[in-house]
């Protein structure tokens, strides 16, 4: 699974993307967030406020209950500010 970070999530975590083999306990987006927070450090700090996190799977917006599968591209980012 590829996980991508954008904007201040990218800046706080300190990387733009990473490959993560899907952990067996991670069935959906919410579980992935828990798993990443469990890494502590910059992950815990960046992902503390879930209300400020938006998620896309395979470049489409999804909710936190969206299921994840090996091979997915998961993107985590703050609310958009373009235009």
């Amino acid at each position: 699974m590829r996980v991508r970070y954008f904007a201040w999530l990218r800046a706080r975590i300190g990387r733009a993307e990473e490959e993560i083999p899907l952990p067996p306990e991670v069935g959906d987006v919410a579980a992935l967030l828990d798993w990443l927070v469990g890494r502590g450090g910059s992950y815990e700090a960046a992902l503390a406020n879930r209300g400020a996190i938006r998620v896309a799977v395979n470049k489409e917006y999804v909710g936190f209950s969206h299921p994840l599968a090996e091979g997915d591209e998961v993107a985590l980012f703050p609310p958009v500010t373009g235009g």
Binding site: A11, A56, G82, G83
Partner: protein, 149 residues
Amino acid sequence: MIRVQREDFDPGAELETLSRGNPKIGAVASFIGLVRAESGEALRAMTLEHYPGMTEKELSLIEREAKRRWPLEASLIIHRFGRLQPGERIVLVATASSHREAAFAACQFLVDWLKTKAPFWKSEETAAGERWVEARAEDEEAAGRWKAQ
């Protein structure tokens, strides 16, 4: 039509191309977003990050939805990314229709939806350093207006 690009665009040429040769077009509405030089402190520059691939996908969805709601003859969204100076153009949204009502409504809809759905993020450079722009609650409300339809 959708374009996501680093380079600037020419609004006059784009509007001309949009309406040329279609005898049904009587109205062209457009919106240009520019980098303001002020945001509390003097702005030195702004950088627009985006999510390549998803950006084009979302803009196409938004455009398709506008075409579903209004009788448009043509539409165009150009959105830039990268580092921009104050006064530079960020975005152009243009819609063409037989009558002005559809052109205006669709143009405003596109801008409102783009502001809350297209994966772009702005960071601003001022004398105090760099900071990420926060999403405006007004933008969510503006986009919310169109949900009932």
